[in-house]
Symmetry: C2
Subunit: 210 residues, 2 copies
Amino acid sequence: MTRPHTTRRKRANGLESRQRILDAAVEIAGERGYEGTSIAAVSAKCGLPASSIYWHFKDKDDLIAAVIERSFDSWLAAVELPGEETGTSLQRVTVMAANVAKSLVDAPDFLRLGLMLALERRPTEPRGRTVFLQVRGVARQKITEMLQTLFPELDEDGIHTLTTYAIAGADGLFVQREITGDAVDLRAMFELHAQSVHEVARRMAAGAGR
Amino acid sequence: MTRPHTTRRKRANGLESRQRILDAAVEIAGERGYEGTSIAAVSAKCGLPASSIYWHFKDKDDLIAAVIERSFDSWLAAVELPGEETGTSLQRVTVMAANVAKSLVDAPDFLRLGLMLALERRPTEPRGRTVFLQVRGVARQKITEMLQTLFPELDEDGIHTLTTYAIAGADGLFVQREITGDAVDLRAMFELHAQSVHEVARRMAAGAGR
DNA sequence: TTCCAATTGGAGTGACCGCTACAGTAAGTG
DNA sequence: CACTTACTGTAGCGGTCACTCCAATTGGAA
């Protein structure tokens, strides 16, 4: 009794259904935003009835928040942040930019949906927006730490400004690509941006040092 | 007998009501996006019944498109594009960036709503999105022309890349400010971006010349 | 004064919304 | 075997959606 490996095989379909619901939801929400994502549409796309969706998720807000969380995880996995490799600071910034560019091409849903939620300002903020801002804060923190190790001569304010500028460029280039499609070579533009960020850091350091 | 000044005073309220409807709509649409903008909410905010809205506008799509058009006009007016003043290319880029930053602080509705529409990808594209992409194209053309006069040594591809990068930075910085509020000093960041764009142009020219 | 066109007000329309109630089914557990 | 747990399927609830119909109202023209 009480088998050592109480695997508790959850009646096969449970987890798979949850994934199917999230797959459908991320697709629809990434196309149509929060209000545009109807439970009926998600239900039709994943083939499960509305009651199943509400068994797996408390309400629509909960569903969207789960979508954000999962797509952030898969995006983070796609970034493949580089290890402690050596090289010039420019090289390391460029490598990181290339990774981010690749991840945004491979998994654009996270940022597209996230930006749509972030731009909205409804009176009662949906949980999905809060979750997005949180995970975005996590990503920002990682960038800040990297820039601190790369440019130790900069003070806190400088690092803050540099981080903001780096993220803004990434967001903006992503938006450009979402609007104009493949006409934008995201990797080339991100390489350009990496050079810019590096140059800004150099200028800042020179200005502060004099 | 056919008064010389046949001003045809359109029964007073006509045009004013139209403006009131647009005022209400731009506010709600800027907060909640396309799907989130309900006619009932617009009606409540402007104090006119739904039937009046439908007398002035064909349907919801038409209303949103009109909102985009009008807010683009007021944004363009806020940009106050500088004349043929002289100065170094860096100075002129910086002045332009400052103007755009100011206009985005003063009239953020245009870009906020526009970006929300642009990021959405519903099967049948709303006219508002098309209108936004059109007027955005107009703005892009102006930037291209300015950069061409400032950096005549760059070829078409270089100008294209430079324009894309300049716009991306502006979009990204705007998004940052919308997300984090006044914590972002938009004017300072735009000045930084102007320097970056100028530096990129210099690097491009040097690279092409060798 | 009569008439017309420009608006407004209000009352609805059917379709869709998020969400729920509840019975049914199938697998593991005693 | 009965019993519990983990879902699925159907039907439908009240509310809101975009949108329409049509009877007022109101100012200007004839």
